[in-house]
């Protein structure tokens, strides 16, 4: 424990004086520790590695954003641990709230709502994004999947019927899925072309 304290404190000090390599290495090592603890903690709550990784990233960003609050005359690990604890408590609350909201979702919307963040993420990874959807679908997918609203609230907000909300949501998700398939196909075609060119 003392070795880590000394090593990380001096790495942070070096990082402050401009050593970006030391900083990157320090953040890598911290991430390993954070990941282990986040996975253990979230597993107990019933959440998986994806959520744990989100917490790790949030904590790293907080460490970076609030790095000026570490007093060099004081030990580094308590500072790190305090920030990690704060962020992990925050995340725990947020995840529990999201889970409660899903539990309160009416059954007919549930399958879509559970699939939606993944579908939106697929769309994002494919290089397109929810931005590429036509306006109504984009608004509804954002409001339902990314912001976590309820169908009735979204219907009220856009002054359309709940059925119209569901239709737009289905269409938006299907379009995102198709976009990601197209991207896969495009990628495969490009890779085949490259391979043929090398031959």
């Amino acid at each position: 424990m003392e070795d880590r304290e000394a090593a990380w404190a001096s790495a942070m000090r070096a990082a402050r004086r401009g050593d970006a390599v030391a900083y990157a290495r320090l953040l890598d090592e911290i991430a390993v520790l954070l990941r282990r603890e986040a996975r253990a903690r979230l597993r107990r709550m019933g959440f998986g590695e994806a959520e744990a990784e989100d917490v790790v990233q949030e904590t790293l960003m907080a460490l970076h954003l609030k790095r000026h609050t570490w007093d060099e005359d004081r030990p580094f690990l308590p500072w790190l641990r305090a920030i990690a604890r704060y962020k992990s408590a925050d995340a725990g609350r947020r995840l529990a709230r999201a889970r409660r909201r899903i539990a309160e979702t009416p059954v007919e919307d549930l399958a879509d709502r559970l699939a939606a963040p993944e579908a939106a993420r697929i769309g994002l990874d494919a290089g397109r994004s929810v931005e590429a959807l036509p306006r109504r679908e984009r608004e509804v997918v954002s409001a339902l999947a990314l912001e976590g609203g309820s169908v009735s609230a979204v219907a009220r907000r856009f002054a359309i019927a709940e059925a119209a909300v569901r239709v737009a949501f289905h269409r938006g998700l299907r379009r995102l899925a198709r976009m990601s398939e197209d991207a896969d196909v495009e990628g495969r075609i490009r890779r085949d072309a490259d391979r043929r060119a090398d031959r």
Binding site: D19, Y23, H64, W79
Partner: protein
Amino acid sequence: MRTDELIDRLAAEGASAESGELDRRLAGAAVARGALSLALVLAFFGLRPDLGSALASGSLLVKLAVALGLATGALGLLRRLVRPGTPPSLWALISIGGALLLVVAPPLGSGQEDAFAVSAARAFDCTMRMALLALAPLVLSLSALRAGAPTHPRLAGAAAGLLSVGLAALGYALWCPYDDAPHVLLAYGGAALAVIALGALAGAQALRW
């Protein structure tokens, strides 16, 4: 985004950080707020008519010492609260405890024994005025605290409330002519409790990061 990509981005931004700036900002803001409270009192209330005799008897000085003790103690607490993982400052706690003990100090006197009802009424007036005076400093304190990373936002907000009411009391003591201990306890105590509670509530919302 994958975590290693995030780390690369953060490292590219660089880790340069000046740790002392936070303290300077807090302290500087406190001084500014003290000056603000003084200016407000002079502008709206003026000085107390018995300034000379109050100074002579020491009662004004006691009031000022109490206010100063609370304010500097609160500032000491805040300097730690705003840095994650730092324990509370013993000196800050001593300062606050000492200030509270001073309230029952002899120079303040016990006032008229049968005037408790009157005390309550005028104490309420003083409480309201001091609480109002403390509002602007509280807002400024909270916004200064957002530059830090308070891991206990409610506690930090409460300490900000204590700081604000102490600074308000510093200015207010120059106007309020009642120095007896029951009045000070009621008026200043009431104002302190109200502003601390308000600070805690506001801190829970405003100091999240």
